[in-house]
Symmetry: C2
């Protein structure tokens, strides 16, 4: 069994050993730029941890680990373009560093590159692994579209929001874990529990992301803060605030979330003041803890000794505290 930091190191080495070069350079350079040094490698680490939890050999899961991270980075690349996010991991996003067309096309190529890695897998469960990857990929597109739909809607419910982040964020953590478990020929019911664990920590992870977008420090978080408010995103914070708001506060919030000022600083501050008055930060933190607790129950249901679950427990803890 490897620790979380050992697995992270192994995934980093997987990527360091890959070449993302090719011709034409304007197709491959953005791919290398996106994959080279960036990110926390959460999904491939989860995949390897799942393989190892069920007694599998992580070396055999190399290409699935690279493939799932490549796919994840493709979604970030296209999402950043669609969301007009200028910065990712402290660096200009691809559409800003190059241009929109290069972001579209190099993203398309990264999506295909992910399949290239998955097709390098040699495993009796290959078809189940590929189907899990395909279904997860499609669900993520659905989640992203719901996310965009919600920008122009004023009647989004918290249930709809949770379903959106399940699709957009949580299924990829669940899918990574499931693929890792398929590698190790885990029993079906354990795979189900592990997937549910992934969904739970994924939802908690996204709510933490919502919190950090409003309250994070740009330097450590590596992204601008307040962009969700600027872009009128109905995050959990907003939706819970609407539920708790007085008629006057609700009117003010709905008005603020219908504007798109050139400079959003005032708008962001006004929204944060309402959130503070409604104790939203604390509300969301409570919700994150509940999701975490439920995820740990799913993990407990898996018929493996606790010692085999240590890495995933550690990962869930890190995602909850979001110091990863």
């Amino acid at each position: 069994m490897h620790t979380l930091s050992q697995l992270t190191e192994i995934v980093k080495n997987f990527f360091a050993e890959e070449q993302f070069t090719g011709s034409p350079s304007l197709l491959y350079e953005p791919i290398a730029y996106t994959l080279a040094d960036g990110g926390k490698r959460i999904r491939p680490v989860l995949l390897l941890a799942a393989t190892e939890m069920f007694g599998g050999n992580i070396d055999t899961a190399r290409y699935a680990a690279i493939g799932i991270e490549t796919f994840h980075n493709f979604t970030l690349l296209h999402d950043d373009l669609m969301d007009r996010s200028p910065v990712r991991r402290g660096k200009p996003t691809v559409y800003r560093k190059w241009n929109e067309n290069i972001a579209i096309l190099s993203g398309d190529a990264m999506n295909i590159l992910a399949w290239r890695y998955f097709l390098r897998i040699k495993h009796p469960n290959l078809h189940s692994i590929l189907s899990t990857f395909e279904q997860t990929s499609m669900e993520i597109c659905e989640g992203q579209q719901y996310d965009m739909d919600f920008e122009s809607r004023n009647d989004v419910t918290i249930d709809e929001y949770m379903e959106m982040i399940r699709l957009k964020t949580a299924v990829l953590l669940g899918g990574a874990l499931k693929i890792g478990a398929l590698y190790a020929n885990a029993p079906d019911d354990d795979i189900k529990h592990l997937y549910d664990f992934g969904i739970g920590i994924g939802l908690a992870f996204q709510l933490r992301d919502d919190l950090l977008d409003a309250y994070g420090d740009t330097a450590t978080f590596g992204k601008q803060t307040g962009t969700d408010i600027r872009d009128n995103k109905k995050t959990y914070l907003f939706l819970r605030a609407i539920e708790k708001a007085s008629p006057e506060q609700r009117k003010q919030l709905l008005h603020l979330f219908s504007t798109t000022p050139e400079n959003a600083d005032n708008k962001i501050n006004e929204v944060l003041n309402i959130y503070a008055a409604l104790d939203i930060r604390h509300e969301v933190e409570k919700q994150i803890e509940q999701l975490h607790k439920k995820a740990m129950e799913s993990l407990n249901n898996i018929k493996r000794p606790d010692s085999d679950k240590q890495t995933l427990i550690e990962m869930a803890q890190k995602l909850l505290n979001r110091n990863i």
Copy 2:
């Protein structure tokens, strides 16, 4: 053996029998819009014709046929966005009918949907089929990037251009034929010849497309004419004109291809006048005939009776005359 029009009908039925609906509707409606009624279905017809040529049963190749056409339409959807083409098959393109973000995301989903269809294939050669599809997909991205690179370059050679259209257009015809042949367990050397045939007719097809962009009739062709000239695309017509031009004509051409006037009508007419003076239309027609002849030689090398090759011969003829 089915005729070309019978195969086209079969492919149409394949698509008529599929549902492209789902939620969220703004993700799936553009997919249904793109796939529902459009296009000549050349690639799936080639795939089925190849299967049948080697004695395979086309019903078993249904999902590969749908998958390859779905992928092709994904590339058109994203290309239309990148090229800012307003019309496709006489209808507004997706980014025009909806918006850019919806074009990006529904295209991504179509790419994944193509994989969904390919994963429905039950065949001992599945891995070869998937690898052929993956490699072809990546080459098409490379071709599209070269195409975009060429817009801002003034030193593109005819060899570079032919390599670009090989990647952007021809490999998908070759790939469709190869997948069809893999279905029918064709021998390796016959697959190679068939692939070369596909490349040849693909190159001829693209040169015909270049011609039609300049000389086609908007109503029958279903696209605006002169867009390649407007967008400063270094097509075969332009590159051959540059080779044959007098110093004065070359200077004029290079100047015209460095401008991007709001209204491109005058620019298009001036370029067409130079092409006419240099007999470019006839030059390109000669080149198309040579490519067609070479493709037919590749087809001749396949060790099957001529009667089995009739549908592909007919297809090559149609693509050459481009009344399909």
